[in-house]
Symmetry: C2
Subunit: 429 residues, 2 copies
Amino acid sequence: MSETHDAVDVIRTKRDGHELSDSQIDWVIDAYTRGSVAEEQMSALAMAILLNGMNRSEISRWTHAMIASGERMDFSSLSRPTADKHSTGGVGDKITLPLAPLVAACGVAVPQLSGRGLGHTGGTLDKLESIPGWRAGLSNDEMLAQLEDVGAVICAAGEGLAPADRKLYALRDVTGTVEAIPLIASSIMSKKIAEGTGALVLDVKVGSGAFMKDAESARELARTMVDLGTDAGVRTVALLTNMSTPLGRTAGNALEVRESVEVLAGAGPEDVVELTVLLAREMLAAAGVDGVDPADKLRDGSAMDVWRRMIVAQGGDPDAKLPTARETHDVVAAADGVVVAMDAYDVGVAAWRLGAGRARKEDPVQAGAGVEIHVKPGDEVRAGQRLLTLHTDEPERFDRAFAALDGAVTVAPKGSRPEIVPLVIDRIA
Amino acid sequence: MSETHDAVDVIRTKRDGHELSDSQIDWVIDAYTRGSVAEEQMSALAMAILLNGMNRSEISRWTHAMIASGERMDFSSLSRPTADKHSTGGVGDKITLPLAPLVAACGVAVPQLSGRGLGHTGGTLDKLESIPGWRAGLSNDEMLAQLEDVGAVICAAGEGLAPADRKLYALRDVTGTVEAIPLIASSIMSKKIAEGTGALVLDVKVGSGAFMKDAESARELARTMVDLGTDAGVRTVALLTNMSTPLGRTAGNALEVRESVEVLAGAGPEDVVELTVLLAREMLAAAGVDGVDPADKLRDGSAMDVWRRMIVAQGGDPDAKLPTARETHDVVAAADGVVVAMDAYDVGVAAWRLGAGRARKEDPVQAGAGVEIHVKPGDEVRAGQRLLTLHTDEPERFDRAFAALDGAVTVAPKGSRPEIVPLVIDRIA
């Protein structure tokens, strides 16, 4: 950090397609965090990175410079190994809710720092906040105590973790520079490495409802993050999973909590159960724990026990009635046939417009709003049968949600077969 | 201007290599000028333009949106046609000083809006400000009156002309986005078109001392600007001229005024005279005036008469003694031989470091500082003979000027021949 650079020289280096030196990267992240590199300079650099890329060594240095901008957590005093999971975000992706208590029930501590939703994908904290009394903010000491006591915690990341990333993320959001794989990967991994987890499983979503629309770019992102984790001594594995159709049968905050509790009770939609168990197995393996089958822990109620203790520990009432929306409206099939496709992005946008999501960071969300999904690709339907139920507190929102859903569900003549994408597309370790 | 866009969408369009629509361009320039598109958004867009380019129609629309951000001048009330010249900047490029009065002496009015220097190239206004009493700031009415009365004016561009360009130029300077041909061309041409000249001659410099280091990119810039001028109804022609070696025998403010007066007196360095006359002929032709040879107007003293009246009209004393630097230092030849090269960039940096130029807009310049050039490529020299004389008020500046000049002058054994680059490399109309 001793060498001083000129911001314009650093920008020009990347603009002209050259490799940034370690010293340039350390300097620019530190100077940006302190405010001596201006927002307009960092945005020009971010665009140059988006268009010209960074190699593995640059991405690694960039990530570590962001970690060095803040504090690091330390879970080495815990009596159990730790494992965390990160999803790149999808529609109906409530997996963290059943997964964290399930893995804790298998003997591995889960320190899950989560975020709020922006745009068409939901945020884990928004979902949990629909539980009366539950609070997302914990001190580091509270987090450590809950991990030791309960084994699982889902909470907001503290202000001290990778502050450079917080600043850069907000900038990228308004400057069209979100979609840069080196910047996405370093943003996610700087927080996960600073958080101090021993093992990490990445759920990289692919498809219309995901950030990465095609498997090729998802694979590149996954590979970049696995390399970063491995280089930093975190046992890291990534699954590429299907997000062309919504996960489970709900998209919305309280709706998804309800479905998660069903899964913890040993029921719930098949795809949610399958992915939860798969990811749990990966987390246990990465944490070096074997001989435990997570499917058993769903069946025998021990995952549900951890869930209840986890909610109580953060002020929530696991027995409280969840909020419901004041108004509902059904979307029905126009003709007999077979559902061959349900577009995840369209359903996500509809849930967002119904009030489940936010357009700006400061917007509130409705706890009860969202979309209930009654059919899945492959199901036969009859004319007039319910496909979706829309929930909102504000009926004036229905029109824009309908508009988003135009063409979202494809019903083909009987005998047609849906295009089947496997739930897990690839595994990268 | 009625349609509203989202800044991130506009940035993404160019980032992803697509064409910006007319409406997007109009909106983004207007919103940026008003401050509702933020600096960090415009810098990301500028970087995307630098790396992905703009086509002819986008550049044209961008230029006109910048013109529309401010006022336009109108010279149609003048009794004479108008012609202007713009140089992309070089070392020792004082041509505007003799050229404007020379063309006026031939019957064409020259409304020359000029700037100050930044970096290794000098600024026309800085040079003229070394004349005691002379002032750069004129109102539009004063400018028009002087054009009618004297025929030539060299002054600072008013605040009202293309304010979007002023804001964008300052942003590009600190974000590594200066070197984008669409942005350079639209910056220059928006001011020239808004200024209202009827004809325009562009002197696009090529070589180490110029902004464009190679003929190919200079030709692209020239072609882009000629197209923009032509499309806007301005008769526009461009010359590509050599800037691998300094122009004339001086680089510095008062030093260049002195040399310009020598040219107006019918003497002066051969290359300065040649380029001044060539550009004058182009301006007369573009303004539709024929039957006058500018070389005659140098010889018969009528160009000098206009010069004196032009200086007096702006408060200057053409007979005042010009400032000289307090300290000088000679650079001498180490051995007998032939000068085969003198690097324009190195000489420009030396003059800048001696105090003739500025590193930041708010820095002052020294009137007397600069470099006197005693030999030109092709000249024979003897060991100990003066090659350059350095001028400054602050002798502590000599060391850094020497460092810049290391290797700047190449003396080869007798009989060696310099690489001769013609003064005019190409002409684009």
